[in-house]
Amino acid sequence: MAIDLQIPVFNNNSEAELAGRWGMSIDQDLCTGCQACVAACAMENNIPFVGEVDAGYGRGMHWIRIERFWQGTFPEVKMTPYQPVMCQQCHNAPCEPVCPVFASVHSASEDLNLQVYNRCVGTRYCANNCPYQVRVFNWRDYADARQRPELVTLQNQLNPDVTVRRRGVMEKCTFCIQRIRHVEDTAKSEGRDIRDGEVVPACAQACPADAIVFGRVDDPASKVSQASKASRGSHLLEELGTLPNVTYLAGGSTK
C-alpha cells in the first residue's frame, strides 16, 4: 500500500554529474545469518567494540546487522529469513535534510549518502530520521587507547584507509567507499574503466554464501542489476519513498 508521506524529493544530482550509481542486492534465500559480514565490516571500517553494558543499552556499533524475527509458536514456529540490513544509501535519504551542519550529504558523484565525520556535531537527528535505524553514534571515545588501555595493541589492526572516529560523531555503512575510491584510482591510473565485480565491499567479500552482490546499478549488464531485476526482489520500507539502492531477494519457494 503506497502511503503518501509527502516527503519532499531532493534532486541532488543531474544525470550528467553522476559518475556512477552503486547498489547492492542481497539474496535472503542464501544468507545463512553467519555474521561473517558483520565481523568483516567491523574489521575493515575500524568499528569499535563497546562492551556488554553499552551493548545492552543499544549502543552497539554495528554498521550491518542481521535481522530476524520469530513467527508463531511451537510447533508451528518459523524464523523469518535472515536479512542483512545496512545503510540503504537512499536516493531520497531522510537523514540528509535534517542535518544542521551538512554532515550527512548526498554524494553528487556516486549517488551514495555520505557521512562527513569532521562536520558532524552529534545532534543525532539523522539517526532519528532514518527509517532503517542503520546509523550508529559514538557515545563515548570507544576507540581511544589513552582511555582504554586494552586497545593499545589492538590499534595495530586499524585500517589506515578509514578514519577512526571520536565520540560525538555519527557513523554508518559507506558501501566501503574507501574501496570504491581505491579501485577508481587504480582504474584511472591504468587508463581503463572499472570492471564489474572489481569493487567488493568487505561484507560481500566475506560472505560465504555469496548472498551479497555489489556493483553499478546504472549499468544494466552488471551482476547487481541483473540480480535486482528478479521478480522476488523488493526494497525495505518501499512505501516511504526513500528509493534505497539495496534490493532484497526474497527467500522461500517463490521463483
Binding site: A16, E17, S107, L112, L114, V116, Q178, D185, S189
Partner: protein, 199 residues
Amino acid sequence: MFKKFFNALNQPLGRVGILITLLVVFSAAVWGIVQAQTAPPQPIQFPHNLHVGVGIQCLYCHPGALRGPSPGLPTETKCWGCHQQMAITKTSPLLKPLVQAVESNQPIHWIPVAQVPDFVHFIHRPHIAAGLNCEDCHGNVSKMTVYQSPQVMNMGWCLSCHRAKTEDNIQNNPNHDPAVTAMLQEKRTKLTDCSTCHY
C-alpha cells in the same frame, strides 16, 4: 547563585578576570596556530637545498607519490646508499645522527610536517597524474633546508584549485561538445564532492 556570579563579574576585579581569561585563550589559540604552521625541529636538519642542488629528483627519495597515497619518507638505507661513499659522512657533526642510526639499526624519528588531519584522505598519485609538479603545492623546496609549508594546507586552499581547474575548463571549453561538457561537469562534481577526500 548566578546573580552573585554576574555581580562579581561586573566588579572591576571581575572585569579584569574576564580580560585575563580572554587574553589567555586568545594567545593560546595564536600559539596553537603558529605552532601548527612552523616547521618543528627535526632529528637531522636535512638540507633539501643542498640535495636538490646536486640534482636529486623529488621522486628519488619520495617515490610513493607516483604510485599511491603517500610519497613516504626515505629509509636510512636510501641515505646511506650515497653517504657511505662520501668522506664527509665520517667527519661532519650534522651527519652523526644518520651514522648512529644506520650502525645501530634504529629508525630516524622524523616529525611529519606536510600533514592533513586524520579525517582527510589525500592521495598523491592522481595529482601527479594530472600534471602537477611537487613545487606547485609544496613550494620551492630547492630553497629550504627542513621542509616548511609555503602556505596553510587547508580545505579552502585545496578547493580553490579543484574548483579553478575544472571551472576554468568548463568556461574555456572551445567546442561546446555536450559530451565533453558532461565529462567536465562530472569531473567538477567529483572534485568538489565531500566523499572524494572525507570518508
